[in-house]
């Protein structure tokens, strides 16, 4: 026999014969298929062995037919149990009563299992399935209750499960809700029904107001109807009846449905609802309406002993559809045909979170997106697909044709212009499609930050964070300026050098370090990292701008959407992690993504807080980065007992009156270090400062000088004289920083022309 078998099937037969749970097998070949009937030994307790079957009807040895298709091993064999194998087991695929029962032995595709783990794995699954069927353990409480299989049914009811769970108050009343339906008239029956969430009493005029049906010329039938939801009634002890029996789907008529409802404890609600509906239909139906089609979704709610797979609720939704002319529904009593339907969840934040595999947040704190451009829209949509889109989006820009190259949203084809209106509103619409309400503010971010009313609207008091994706230096400064009024830390997302790199800066919740500190630290880091330097710092071809229109103000870098999306995906994941784990406290987190070909290498850096020195009687603040602070301390330690000093490097934000000190240039060796003074030698210093600055393409520059005092004290007379000299040197303000044993003190000199 084996010689005529395809070699793959012949090997399969040998494998089946060798399986430790298979006692014997027989073969039959037919048209292009080979059927192997393998007798599996089923594990069961001794008493059941003696009885010859388990209480669930499984025998000690069960024949399973493996039907190998002509394209095996590309496709897995199909499985069949003996014809009289009880269908009252979970994990049996729904199918006609006349066909042999088909066990569902693996979550997913049997063919994929075959390719992933081989035929042995398929056989192991069959054996384990039979063991579980015999011992009543096909449903694993740890995994959850397996709902009645209805995945191959053609009718689909879309409903918010959370709302339906709430229909289990134990009262014996039916719930009526509105619904919309859709089906193709000439196709096999398959009705799509969207069930509404609001319930209402079935008054005399309800049907007239509610029911609509239309047949469009393209073969589509659309309509509105009502749905009936029947939950279980409380028992004498006040609790809901728990249905532990797995009942395979076999309902075909209203009579069957009533019986099934009785098993689930919902008979009272169903029967009341059906009677009321019939009465109302009879009242409302004129002769002309009697052939009017009735599409009636009915959902039974059954309480199971433990939560269903993938949910936290023990309530199982078991939906059906009645589709018949009103006259038949009213006249045919319990013979009216009923067809089972499957349930799909209404699109919701929770559904998106579940499908994304992220933990549900009971009350997610709002977050604000500034800038709904390429990067901002991608991050917003990506997080929106995780059920956690922004609560507010601020952007005053409109969607221009060139945005179509990279924006997460698609232009409105109807306009023929490639436009989509304001970006914030467009994003609001897109997020609405993801069942999320987003406030859209069509205003310039700078205006918003400057206007307390708008700011309150843009960044609610309980905001989790503000994500700045504007790629605007002005916005960055304005955010730092507005920090005391924001009550929320800033996360800055940016792409650099035509997609050569991207950064995500997350400032500390206590504002130290802030984004300004972190940007300065990033530049400092670029001094010793050529790849980062090439991507970040201006001067190279990678920073060329694209002309998007004559006189256009847009500073758009050329890069494909794939690059933006690639960076945005990682940023979204990082933000999602922060949403789950919390924002950093007393440190900042910088993610740097460097692209090499199709790869992006991400690294995360923890930025330590800065030393903050407020200059007395001056608007200026000096923020000394942790590395610079350490370099100063080390220099002082090198020269004990005398004053020492050097040049401060970093950057200045005029808008926020802040010096960001990122490093020092040591004083030349010939400088004078004495107990009473420090004299900075300038010979050779200029070149050292210039080199430092050149290494960052001018992003970091000289800020002034620092020197130490051996006792806590402010500027000496000599210091004041030097400051006057410095003032003459440049227009930009300079800092004179003094480090003494108790801390820092500083003075600012400004060469303002007066």
């Amino acid at each position: 026999m084996a010689s005529v078998l395809p070699s793959a099937v012949a090997r399969a037969v040998a494998t089946i014969r060798e399986h430790p749970a298979v006692e014997n097998l027989s073969l039959s070949t037919g048209n292009e298929t080979t059927a192997v009937v393998a007798s599996f030994r089923v594990s069961m307790p001794s008493r059941w062995l003696a009885e010859g079957h388990s209480p669930s009807g499984v025998r000690p040895v069960e024949p399973v037919t493996l039907r190998f298709p002509a394209n095996y091993p590309l496709c897995a064999p199909s499985l069949e149990l003996r014809n009289d194998f009880s269908r009252s087991h979970p994990h049996i695929n729904p199918g006609p009563e006349d066909d042999p029962p088909v066990p569902c032995v693996v979550e997913g595709s049997l063919t994929e299992l075959l390719h992933a783990s081989g035929l042995e794995s398929v056989l192991n699954q069959i054996s384990a399935w039979l063991d579980n069927a015999a011992n009543g353990t096909l449903i694993d409480p740890k995994q959850g209750w397996e709902p009645v299989r209805r995945d191959t049914l053609t009718h689909v009811i879309c409903a918010d499960a959370g709302v339906l769970y709430g229909r289990t108050d134990g009262q014996e009343r039916p719930w009526f809700v509105g619904c919309n339906y859709w089906y193709e008239r000439d196709k096999p029956p398959g009705i799509l029904i969207a069930l509404g969430s609001e319930s209402f009493p079935l008054a005399r005029d309800t049907l007239g107001r509610l029911m609509r049906h239309g047949d469009s010329p393209n073969g589509i039938a659309l309509g509105q109807s009502l749905g009936l939801v029947a939950g279980p009634a409380k028992g004498p002890d006040g609790s809901l009846p728990v249905c532990c029996d797995y009942l395979p789907e076999s309902v075909a008529t209203l009579a069957d449905l009533r019986q099934r409802a009785a098993a689930y404890g919902c008979a009272a609600a169903l029967n009341t609802g059906l009677k009321l509906l019939r009465d109302r239909l009879l009242e409302a139906s004129t002769t002309a309406r009697k052939d009017y089609p009735l599409v009636l979704p009915i959902v039974l709610l059954a309480k199971r002993p433990f939560p269903l797979i993938g949910t936290e609720s023990p309530i199982e939704l078991i939906p059906y559809v009645v589709s018949t002319p009103i006259s038949d529904f009213c006249a045919n009593g319990d013979a009216v045909p009923v067809e089972p339907a499957s349930h799909v969840h209404t699109l919701s934040r929770n559904l998106l979170r579940r499908l994304s595999g992220v933990e549900d947040m009971k009350t997610p704190k709002p977050w604000t997106l500034l800038g709904a451009g390429s990067l901002g829209s991608n991050v917003a949509i990506s997080l929106g697909r995780m059920g956690d889109g922004p609560s507010v989006t601020v952007d005053n820009d409109y969607f221009s044709p060139h945005n179509a190259a990279r924006h997460a949203l698609l232009p409105d084809n109807a306009s023929g212009m490639g436009l989509l209106g304001n970006k914030a509103f467009a994003l609001q619409q897109a997020l609405l499609c993801l069942a999320q309400n987003t406030e859209a503010l069509s205003a310039h971010v700078l205006d918003v930050l400057a206007d307390p009313k708008l700011l309150k609207k843009a960044v609610p008091r309980n905001a989790w964070a503000v994500v700045n994706a504007t790629a605007s230096l002005a916005v960055r400064d304005a955010l730092m300026e507005a920090a005391p009024k924001l009550h929320a830390p800033v996360i800055e997302a940016a792409i650099w050098g035509r997609g050569a790199a991207a950064t995500l800066l997350v400032e500390s919740t206590d504002g130290n370090p802030n984004v300004g500190d972190m940007v300065a630290a990033l530049y400092e880091r670029a001094r010793s990292d050529s790849a980062l330097s090439n991507a970040l710092l201006p001067g190279g071809a990678s920073h060329a701008l694209i002309e998007t229109g004559q006189g256009c103000r847009s500073s758009t870098m050329a890069m494909p959407d794939a690059v933006v999306s690639q960076f945005a995906s990682a940023m979204s994941l990082a933000i999602a992690d922060l949403r789950r784990d919390g924002l950093p406290m007393a440190t900042g987190h910088t993610w740097i993504g460097l692209r090499q070909g199709i790869q992006v290498q991400w690294q995360q850096i923890v930025v330590q807080p800065s030393e903050r020195i407020k200059v007395e009687a001056s608007p200026w603040t000096i923020r000394i980065g942790a590395d610079a602070h350490q370099a100063i301390s080390e220099d002082i330690n090198r020269f004990p007992g005398v004053e020492t000093g050097g040049v401060l490097m970093g950057r200045i934000s005029e808008a926020t009156h802040t010096f960001y000190v990122t490093g020092i240039v040591p004083a030349p060796e010939s400088s004078v270090r004495r107990a009473d003074c420090f004299i900075l030698e300038t010979k050779g210093l200029k070149r050292a400062v210039e080199r430092y600055s050149e290494e960052t393409a001018g992003a970091l520059y000289c800020l002034g000088t620092w020197h130490s005092h051996l006792t806590p004290s402010g500027p000496s007379a000599l210091d004041r004289q030097t400051a006057e000299v410095l003032k003459e040197w440049r227009v930009a303000p300079s800092v004179m920083l003094i480090r003494h044993p108790s801390g820092y003190q500083a003075s600012i000199t400004e060469g303002i022309w007066q």
């Binding site: 793959a8 090997r11 399969a12 040998a14 494998t15 060798e18 399986h19 430790p20 749970a21 599996f40 030994r41 089923v42 594990s43 069961m44 307790p45 001794s46 008493r47 059941w48 062995l49 003696a50 009885e51 010859g52 095996y72 091993p73 590309l74 994929e112 075959l114 390719h115 992933a116 783990s117 081989g118 035929l119 042995e120 794995s121 398929v122 056989l123 192991n124 054996s127 384990a128 039979l130 063991d131 011992n135």
Partner: protein
């Protein structure tokens, strides 16, 4: 979960009984040194045992509530010294050695060495520890976990006469473990049996025939009689014949839902004839067979042995396997071997014991479109 777990130790015994109360009784060990070598295929049963044991909440030491050594043969006590703490519990060095809270020992420990009674190092260690614990009792010291012992059966010459509370008499049913009554089990001591003058003492005093034969009743899921388990070490045909003679009128003392076929499926437990010499001519002892065939409906008969081949070897013996298969079939039950490398675990529900179906090794053949396991991409 109530269970009896057989570790895969070839021709040897090693079983762990887990009671409904959570207490654990270890019956024999055969922990071969080769198991320590990761390159060797010998299953690492010591690790597998520890995985199933609890640690004392105070001391952090692994422990078994009771350890029954059926008889002091190497294939029943190998590895005792290496893996178990022997000596006063307070002298435990703090390593991963397993503390025996209560020893269940045959009275062989009181016997002097003879040609029938040569002991391996592990057996000597058991004997020494048993004697220490008996002395502890005789010294009237407080009996607590780690010092407790039960002597299963009276010794000849009155050496056990003074043991009262720590002696279990033949035919007696006991229900305590580590000094506490445990309602989730009972065990009846069927052997060793007192000898009489007209019997062939030489035969009955051999090590194999000194085996402790116990018939447990294990409760599970509210059924006090969920599983009757008969275990008898290496007891040979003479013992089983005598047992039948003693209990013919009360066969329910011998009946079982789970039987560990004696002496690794040896023909010598069923027949006085030599299988290797007589082959199929060898005859089954009707009384021994009767003693070993009191299978309740659907009973499992287990062979803790090497693979049973159709050859002249004994044990395991193909003829014995056939006999046990017949007994199993008559009862609508099953004959199983501890095939390893993973232990065979018989879980016990209110409806009796059951063995989970064996699974095939994944990727063992090239019969499918795929060889072995493949990573699973997601689209």
């Amino acid at each position: 979960m109530v269970s009896v777990t057989y570790f895969s130790v070839d021709n040897g015994d090693m079983a762990l009984i887990e009671l409904d109360s959570g207490r654990k009784i270890l019956v024999d060990v055969n922990i071969r040194e080769a198991a320590d070598d990761p390159e060797d295929d010998t299953p690492d049963v010591a690790r597998m045992l520890r995985e199933r044991l609890d640690k004392d909440s105070k001391t952090g030491h692994y422990y078994v509530d009771a350890f029954l050594l059926s008889h002091p043969d190497q294939d029943h006590c190998r590895g005792l010294e290496r893996h178990f703490h022997l000596g006063p519990p307070e002298s435990h060095p703090g390593d991963d050695k397993i503390l025996i809270r209560e020893m269940w020992s045959s009275p062989m420990v009181f016997r002097r060495a003879s040609k029938n009674h040569t002991l391996c190092a592990d057996a000597k260690a058991w004997k020494k520890e048993a004697k220490r614990r008996v002395q502890h009792f005789r010294d009237d010291k407080p009996m607590e976990s780690g010092n407790r012992i039960l002597i299963l059966g009276e010794d000849e010459n009155g050496k056990t006469d003074d043991l009262g509370p720590i002696l279990v008499m033949t035919d007696q049913e006991f229900r305590s473990i580590d000094g506490l009554r445990d309602s989730s089990f009972s065990a009846r001591l069927l052997a060793p049996m007192p000898t009489s003058d007209d019997e062939d003492e030489e035969e009955l005093l051999s090590k194999n025939n000194s085996s402790v034969v116990l018939r447990f009743k294990l409760s599970a899921e509210g059924n006090e009689d969920a599983c009757r388990y008969l275990t008898g070490g290496d007891a040979e045909v003479a013992i089983w014949e005598r047992l039948w003679a003693r209990h013919e009128n009360r066969p329910h003392w011998l009946d079982y839902d789970l039987l560990l076929t004696p002496h690794h499926c040896s023909w010598h437990s069923l027949s006085r004839d030599s299988w290797s010499k007589l082959g199929e001519e060898a005859e089954v002892s009707p009384d021994a067979r009767s003693a070993l065939s009191q299978a309740r409906g659907g009973a499992y008969l287990v062979s803790s042995s090497k693979e049973i081949l159709d050859d002249t070897n004994d044990p395991p013996c193909i003829r014995a396997k056939r006999e046990y298969q017949t007994i199993a079939k008559e009862a609508g039950g099953r004959f199983e071997r501890v095939a390893g490398p993973q232990p065979s675990k018989y879980t016990i529900s209110r409806d009796g014991p059951r063995l989970k179906s064996a699974a095939a090794a994944i990727g063992a053949s090239v019969s499918s479109g795929a060889i072995g396991r493949q990573p699973l991409p997601h689209g």
